[in-house]
Structure formats: C-alpha cells, structure tokens
C-alpha cells in the first residue's frame, strides 16, 4: 500500500456533506413517521377476520418484505408519475417508498408483539369487565408498543441506512454528496470513508440504545 | 472408610451460602435418598459430587479415594479418573437433541473412552433391550415421550459403567402417568446392586427404593435413618413437620 492520504478536499466539502446528512435525516424521520403510524394500522387490519381486508394487506406486506428496496424505489420514481399523472420530486418519492417499505416491516413487528401478549391478559380483562375497545386501548396496545419497541427502532435505523438508495435517483442526500465530491476531487478513499463514518456515528449509538431498551423492557414485562 | 464420604463441604453462590461444613457417608450397599424442602441444597449436593459446581472447601471421596477437593477462589481440584466412575441423570433429560438414541448412548464411550464403535453399539443395544427401548434405538429425542427420554438418559449414563449413580429429581418434569416406568427402571437397577444417591419429591418411591433416607434442611442433615424408621417414627420435630406437610399434600 503506497497510497498518500489527502484530507484537504474532504475538509473543504464538509459543509456539503453536512447538508447531505440533513437530507438523509429528514428522509429517515418522515419515513419513520409513515412506518410507525401506517404500520400499526396495517397490523390492526391484519387482525381482522374479513379476508377482503387481510388479503390485500398480506400481499402488500409480503411484496415489500420480499423484494429489494432499490426496485421499490425505482418503481415509485418511474412508474407513479405515469400511473397517477403527477410529478412529485425524487425526495418525496423517496419518503413514500421508504415509508411504505418500513411500514410493511413494522406491521410484522406490531403483529408479533400483539401475539406475544399472554392470552391470560384477555381473560383477565374479561374478568375485570373491560369491553373489547377498552381492552385493546388499555391492555393490548401499551404492551404491544413496549414489546415491539426494540424491533421498531431497529427497523427505523435500518431505513436510515437504506435511505442511501435515494442517491441513485439523484436526491442529494449524504450518499449522493459523498459520491459527487469523490468524483469531483478524485479522492474516493477519504471521502467515502468519511461518509461511512458519518453513517456509522449516527446508527451505532442507536443500535446500542436498542439493546439497552431490550433489556429494560424484558425486565418491565417479566412481571 | 465409607464408600462415599463428604467431609466439610463448603458451597456458596456469591454471598449466599448453601453448605458450611457439610458431612455425609454412604456405604456401597446403600441407596441413599435425599429429601427436604426446596432450596435446601439437595440438587446442589449431587452437582457438587459430579464436579459441576465449584466448591470453596471440603473433600469428596469415592471408594476410599478423594477426588474433589474444594479451595477458595475457584481453585478446586478434581481427579478426572475417579470422577469418571460417577454417573448422573438430570431432571430435564439433557439428551443431545441432534443425536439419535443410539448416538446419545455411544458418543461418550467411543469419543472419550476409546471403545470400538461396534462394541459400543452392541452394549447400547443390550441396555436398550433391557429397558424395553430397543425399538427406539434410531429415534431422536424429540420423538420420545418424557419417560422414554429419561430412561434413555439412564442408559446413557450406564454405558460408562459407573460405580455410583446420581439421580437429580429425574421424575419431577414427567407427567404423572410416566413416572412409574422411570421408577421401575431405577428399581431394576437397585435390584442389580447399583449404589445410588437419589433426590426426589416422591415419598412413596423414596420409601420403597431407599436403604437410607436423609432429611436435609438449610444445608444441614437433620435426620438420617432407614426408610421405615424415618417415615414411620421420625425423631426430629422438623422432620415430622416436613413429612406431615408433604404427605398431607400427596394424600
């Protein structure tokens, strides 16, 4: 190895990378907002006994879970404008595709959490005279949220990483800026390493927090 | 010197003390049954004798030879040669799930005692025949009932020709209707003259199989006597309390 490092250009373009990071974070937050809310609604729908509701939801979930996020993103970017005859920015398409992708994974997390609640809690609720609605709101929902939290956060940080895909449809996120700067300055090693470190610096603490939360929730629900 | 001797056993889990100088003797003709309230250290005692627990003090000997010597800070000494003469069966079977019945029986003899595969196989089949399990030789543990699993576990231990067998609550995890087959197997073994130490909650079985019953509480022997004496005419108030409670519950 006789490569000579030169960090000058990376230093000079740090503001651009920072702008990119902001876009990445915005994408992540919006996609998570969609994923958390829509995912829960989908999970509730999946509990329905009406096939006309569960079937389309199942297809939606499985489709988003079983195909590459890249094809989902590219499909939205190229096909949605034609089908609906609208023109939305790549940024918006990115949020939509990532959000729907996340919602599919989160729906599964919610569903598994709801199933993990001991059946005896339903029995106890009946014995205590709670009606179905009260039972869902006061007994099922809080426990499902606590149980699903680690997976929801893990999925959320996964979307932070997946959001790098939007660079491929020319959204100027952190990945895009990194690529752009590295080709402009012919300094790929310094630039891409810096970009990787920035991604890592954001997701590592979160993943550590997840394992902490996981230990806490286990204790909380251990009874 | 007695066949089994435990002298001054000290066992602690952190600040929690299980034994502080525990003594026990057993003759080669004995089948010793340990009874007592949960958490009094019966299972821990067997685990110490098997060498599964670090002991902080005391000695354990078998056939006049000391094989475990406790020491502070986990520097316990074990003589593996004599440890090999002790066999143990656990509450939760602990069969190896990825091996067939035959595989479970033959693993230790062939891999650590250098027994030829064919010989181990013959010996295993002989044991399974004796236990009425010959038709289960190629089954996997997950395909067996709890009683069958436990009898396979006993056969697995016997493959190594132990001089002493330890049974740690071997029927506690079983459905009531499966308890008998395991207890019968143990009774057969007793009739064949195998020295045993048994921890059980089944007082009826204890009375039938034991030559000596030890009532233990909080890491101390409270009373030790022949089964008819201990169950029929217990000398200590605490023994009477304990027996009254368990016998009442058991009906």
């Amino acid at each position: 190895m006789n490569y000579e490092f030169n960090w000058f250009y990376v230093q000079k373009s740090l503001p651009d990378l920072f702008d990119g990071l902001l876009v990445t974070l915005q994408l992540t937050l919006w996609a998570n907002a969609i994923g958390l809310v829509f995912g829960f609604l989908v999970a509730l729908g999946m509990m329905s006994k009406i096939k006309l509701i569960t079937w389309p939801l199942t297809i939606y979930i499985e489709f988003f879970r079983c195909t590459p996020a890249l094809i989902q993103l590219v499909w939205f970017f190229f096909c949605v404008p034609i089908i609906f005859n609208v023109w939305w920015s790549g940024y918006f398409m990115g949020i939509l595709a990532l959000g729907l992708n996340l919602a599919a994974f989160n729906a599964e997390a919610y569903r598994a959490a709801i199933q993990a609640i001991p059946h005896s809690h339903s029995d106890a609720s009946v014995a205590l005279g709670l009606n179905a609605f009260q039972r869902i709101i006061h007994v099922i929902l809080p426990q499902a949220l606590i149980l699903a939290l680690p997976v929801l956060i893990t999925n959320g940080i996964g979307i932070f990483q997946q959001s790098a895909l939007v660079a491929l449809i020319s959204v100027e996120d952190l990945m895009y800026q990194g690529r752009y700067i590295s080709t402009q300055t012919f300094r790929p090693i310094e630039t891409l390493t810096t970009v990787a470190l920035i991604y890592f610096a954001v997701s590592f603490p979160v993943s550590q927090a997840v394992s902490y939360i996981e230990r806490r929730t286990k204790r909380l629900l251990a009874n | 010197m007695a066949f089994v001797e435990i002298n001054g056993l000290v066992k602690r889990y952190g600040a929690l003390s299980i034994f502080e100088g525990f003594d026990l003797k057993m003759e080669a003709t004995d089948r010793l049954v340990l009874i007592g309230p949960s958490g009094c250290g019966k299972s821990t005692l067997l685990r110490c004798m098997m060498g599964l627990e670090d002991i902080a003090g005391g000695q354990i000997s078998l056939g006049g030879k000391e094989y475990i010597e406790g020491a502070e800070a986990g520097k316990m000494r074990i003589d593996a040669k004599i440890q090999k003469d002790v066999g143990m069966v656990f509450q939760h079977y602990t069969l190896f799930p990825h091996l067939s019945v035959l595989g479970n029986l033959c693993l230790a003899p062939t891999r650590s005692r250098g027994m030829k595969k064919a010989i181990a196989r013959d010996k295993a089949m002989e044991l399974l025949q004796r236990f009425g399990l010959a038709d289960r030789a190629d089954f996997y543990p997950s395909q067996l009932s709890g009683g069958q699993k436990q009898r396979v576990a006993i056969a697995r231990a016997l493959m190594l020709d132990p001089k002493l067998m330890l049974f740690d609550e071997v029927t506690s995890a079983l459905d009531p209707e499966l308890v008998n087959e395991v207890e019968n197997t143990m009774q057969d073994l007793a009739n064949a003259g195998m020295p045993m130490m048994i921890v059980t909650h089944d007082m009826h079985f204890a009375r039938n199989i034991a030559t000596k019953v030890v009532f233990q509480e909080r890491g101390k022997v409270i009373e030790a006597a022949a089964p008819d004496e201990l169950f029929g005419n217990p000398q200590q108030e605490r023994t009477r309390d304990f027996l009254r409670n368990v016998l009442h519950i058991n009906g």
Binding site: M1, N2, Y3, E62, F63, R65, C66, T67, P68, L70, I71, Q72, V74, W75, F78, I82, I83, N85, Q161, Q162, A164, L165, L168, M175, G178, S182, P188, I189, L192, T193, V195, A196, Y199, F200, S203, F204, S207 | M50, L52, G87, M88, F90, H92, Y93, T94, L95, F96, P97, H98, L107, A108, R111, S112, Y140, P141, S142, K149, R156, A157, L160
Partner: protein, 221 residues
C-alpha cells in the same frame, strides 16, 4: 395509460441472464459470507480481548453503514488502497461477502449462546473432553439452530444484491433498468423485474418460518 406486456417476451433472454448474474452474486457471497461469518462469530465469543474487540468493531461497522457505501468503497477505494486491479465482479462479490459475513456472524453467535447450560452439565457428567464437546455436541446444535436465521440472512443478501447494479454489474436490476430506459416502458418492465425478485424472495422467506418450526421441534428435546 395502456399497458403492454407483450414486448417483454423478446427481452426474456436478457432478463434471464440478469437473473443468473444476480444468483451468481448471491451464491458466491453467501458461501464466502458463511465461512467468514463463522470465523467472526468465534472471534466474538473469544476470551482474547484484542480478537473480541476487533471482530466486534468489524461487525458493528458493517451493520451500521449502508451497504451502498460499502459497495462503493470496495469498488472505488479498495483497488487504490491495495494498489491492485480488481474486476468489477470481484469487487462486488467482495463487498457483498464482507457485508453478509457481518450479519451471518450474528446468527452463529446467537445460536452458540442459545445452547442450554444443562447440555454442558451432561457433557461433564459423561466425562467428555473439551474437544469432543465442541465438535460433537456444541457445533452441530449451533449449526442446526442457526439455520433459520442463516436463511433469512441469505434472503437479505439476495435483496441487497440489487445494489451491484449501481456499480454497473449487469444483474437483474441493471438489466431491467436498462430495458426500461431503452423502450420507455418502465411500468411493465420494472413491475416484471419486481415480480421476479418476489418469486424468489417470497418462497425463501416462507421457507424460513417452515424450517424454523421444524427445527425447533428437533432441538427442543
């Protein structure tokens, strides 16, 4: 808007070729990732502090950065860094293997940790030496228990493999996008490409839960 799927027939050969490239990437990277992942999992259960921390840092880093960044890094930086020529194919395989090794090591580690302590008690009671215990008792159970997770790792790898199109590898994704650009019919072609991915990804995902249920029965003795 009119859909016309008939023109796709003339592209079926190219699509199939793209698919076979995708499967080659996945197969190679899965194989290398399995080996590398097992080595890493041993490192992560090691009592040697240097080995433990090095492997932990590696795994966390590859799990904590986008695969796209890793791919670009290997593709553009590794050859410069090492001062050697690497074909695009080799770079992509290396990148995917480095990534899959990290996620696969977690599956092995969890499996190693899940073996009950009573199994070790039984080994002691049977007088099994350490080596026999590791090879004949621990390893087979660890592999059995890891299988469902390993399968999901392969599914993830299969989905992530679409990224190699971004560095010009002619996989299914790349071929699909190319055709879409050429014939200006993105809906039909991209939908079909997505369906092809789905046709492979879905049964694999289902297989995970089936295998999991069956293995659980075996391992829970």
């Amino acid at each position: 808007m009119e859909l016309d799927f008939s023109f796709l027939l003339s592209y079926s050969g190219v699509l199939l070729q793209g698919l076979s490239t995708t499967l080659q990437f996945v197969g190679l990277a899965a194989l290398l990732g399995l080996i590398w992942g097992f080595v890493l999992s041993l490192g992560r259960t090691s009592e040697n502090h240097v080995i433990y921390w090095a492997s932990t840092l590696y795994v966390e880093f590859f799990r904590g950065t986008p695969v796209l960044v890793q791919l670009f890094w290997v593709f553009f930086c590794l050859p410069l860094f090492l001062g050697i020529d690497l074909s695009g194919f080799a770079s992509a395989v290396i990148a995917l293997s480095l990534y899959s090794g990290a996620i696969i090591s977690e599956s092995f580690r969890a499996a190693l940790k899940s073996i009950e302590s009573s199994q070790f008690d039984a080994c002691t009671a049977l007088g099994l030496p350490r080596g026999v215990q590791t090879i004949f008792v621990v390893l087979p159970q660890a592999v059995l228990r890891a299988i469902p997770n390993l399968l999901s790792n392969v599914v993830s790898l299969f989905k992530e493999s679409a990224l190699v199109s971004a560095v010009g590898m002619a996989d299914l994704m790349y071929v699909g996008q190319n055709i879409a650009n050429n014939v200006a019919r993105p809906i039909e072609i991209l939908t079909v490409v997505a369906l092809i991915y789905f046709a492979i990804g879905f049964p694999l995902t289902r297989a995970v839960s089936v295998v999991e249920a069956r293995l659980l029965k075996v391992v829970k003795a």
